[in-house]
Amino acid sequence: MTAIDHDEEAVVIIGSGAGGGTLAYELTARGIKVVVLEAGPHITNAEYVNDEWAAFSQMAWLDPRTTSGSWRIARDFPNLPAWIVKAVGGSTTHWSGATPRFLAHEFEARSTYGAIDGANLLDWPLTLAELAPYYDRAEIAMGSTHRHGRAALPANNNYKVFANGAARVGYNFYATGPYATNAEPYDGRPASVQDGFNFQGDKSGAKWSTLVREIPRAEATGHLDLRPLSQAVQISHDRTGRADAVLYLDAAGGMHRQRARIVCVAGNSIETPRLLLLSASSLFPDGLANSSGQVGRNYMRHTTGSVYAQFPDPVHSYRGETMAGIIADEARHDERRGFAGGYYLETLSLGPAFLAAFANPGAWGRDFTAILDGYAHTAGLWIVGEDMPQETNRITLNGSVTDAAGLPVANVNFDDHPNDVAMREHGYRQAELLYDAVGSISAHRTPPYPSTHNLGTSRMSARPEDGVVNKFGRAHDVPNLFVSDGSVFTTGAAANPTLTIVALAIRQADHIAEQLANGTL
């Protein structure tokens, strides 16, 4: 455990998940001193529990938040807009593990899709070709199956139904991955024992997370000072407008100040804009790095939904990896389907506790209990597709609800765009056809869960007036402030975001190290 003095100008990273944890490792590996401020506790794999609600209480970000808008979450889970983790390793500790890359045109959404009413589309200031080498490094770090020589995971029961259904409706581009869980031992970690628990944390360590890979390796360099239970509450700046310190609260509520040479914010797409807005000053009256007015806007959560289908014969879909199955045929952009962008279908299984909670919130009676009665005969999948960025889908500070420290909580306002609705409808229908093709006797459409993919609230843009950060995640307004998480996504693409967040963080680390070395930062 390395201690860095509070008065030493370190690189201060806020958050230890996919972005922050990766960045911490990549910088410390180059000998750069890093302080990581992690709001949550340091929970280790051995402490995880194979129990949905117990694990949720242990890991989930449960600090108060509020919601508004027409999305159903505001009615069903008004204080739980997002299902993410508050612990060292962030949401990589509970993520399912799917690692598709973006498609080339998904970096050019505005040019490819054209103008769409109500959508604040913009091309990324970055191309697939530029990111491709970093995708390679991310896949190697994470051990993605089907990539760089990593073996495919075997077919579990849920996948057998999914893949046979896919083949019968005419899909071709399906497989058990790419998926960042070891099918065979790799990188010092074991192979999956197919225990069926991912969202609860993976006890075995077969699944990649920054908790099992980047954080311990960063600590081993001797250049990392990891501070769990440290909630960043403000980034301060000097007279020239450069970030100079981070103020944070410890578990007892004590306020600390860590001097900073560079500040990197990776608190996930709700806390990141909240922190920038909480950092408003006389010099930055609308919030730090917010001259564009885009901080907090364009909040995206992917167009999602699930279908759970029942069969005459047993499935036991809860056995084995939770999301080891992907269909990519619908990820294309094809205007003939009636919407822009595309989506993936991915296997998914919940235990009875979570299926009951999320299958149709608010429902009761025989229609509801029938979903649970058929549990052992149920196969399930998740739709995950690109949603439209909208300026009014937005994180703001709630002036009347405060957290334990008395600070305004984040309010998450969200309305589906008609494109999102059309895509979800298409996904539901294709999923029903897929299951029908292998003999389903019923299929149930589940609405979107509290958001697991939170994106876009400090987006990248070529021009400072269009977004918050540049192509390296560097704030347009503050030269030594970076955003290092999914908040920088200019648009959401269809792919699960973690691989892209990791690739961008590796690229950002290269950029920061280079700038530090040549004295320009």
């Binding site: 497989a175 506790a353 009951a356 019923s442």
Partner: protein, 184 residues
């Protein structure tokens, strides 16, 4: 929440066998499962009463909601058949009383190990070595699918329609013939 030890304290209705019986019946009518043991409903009712007794808001809602169930025109709730009892609950489903029962039953009933067992869920598995040798791939009514990515003649389409048509439109109701074919 604490109660005064005087005659002005609320009656102990919520702790009475009558209240317990009514609550068990409400939960069973709202969440009917033929295969669940009685203990699952009884434990859920006990948990909900204990939860309600923690705050005045829920204590008041549950006490008055249960006590007044029998005052509705159809007569004693416990004497109603399942259809009539369900209709009675539909009429009050927007109340704080029923909302408390519904939301907390979902959180409690489906978190009971005996319910998992009755539904065919095996629960914690890591300490048993996961499902690697305990049936993660034992489904035998479909052929073994491909696990590797597609390597056939078709190119992956990123923009535009697929080169081969896939099934679209409205899913037909699953027919017995289809199922028979699949299970062969």
């Amino acid at each position: 929440m604490t109660f005064l030890d005087t005659s002005e304290a609320p009656s102990g209705f919520l702790d009475s066998p009558q209240a317990r019986a009514l609550l068990v019946r409400v939960i069973r009518v709202a969440f009917p499962h033929a295969q669940l043991p009685d203990t699952a409903y009884e434990k859920t009712a006990a948990a909900l009463i204990a939860l309600a007794e923690k705050t005045p808001r829920h204590f008041l809602a549950l006490s008055s909601g249960l006590a007044s169930l029998d005052t509705l025109p159809a007569g004693a709730f416990l004497d109603l058949n399942a259809t009539d009892a369900t209709a009675r609950l539909r009429a009050i489903e927007q109340t704080e009383f029923f909302g408390f029962i519904r939301a907390n039953t979902v959180l409690t009933l489906y978190n009971l190990p005996e319910v998992w067992e009755a539904l065919g869920y095996e629960g914690a598995s890591f300490d048993k070595g996961g499902y690697l040798t305990r049936g993660f791939n034992d489904l035998d009514w479909l052929p073994e699918p491909r696990i590797e990515e597609y390597t056939g003649e078709l190119n992956y389409v990123e923009i535009g329609p697929l080169t081969r048509q896939v099934g679209t439109g409205t899913a037909p109701a699953a027919s017995a013939a289809t199922r028979d074919e699949v299970t062969k």
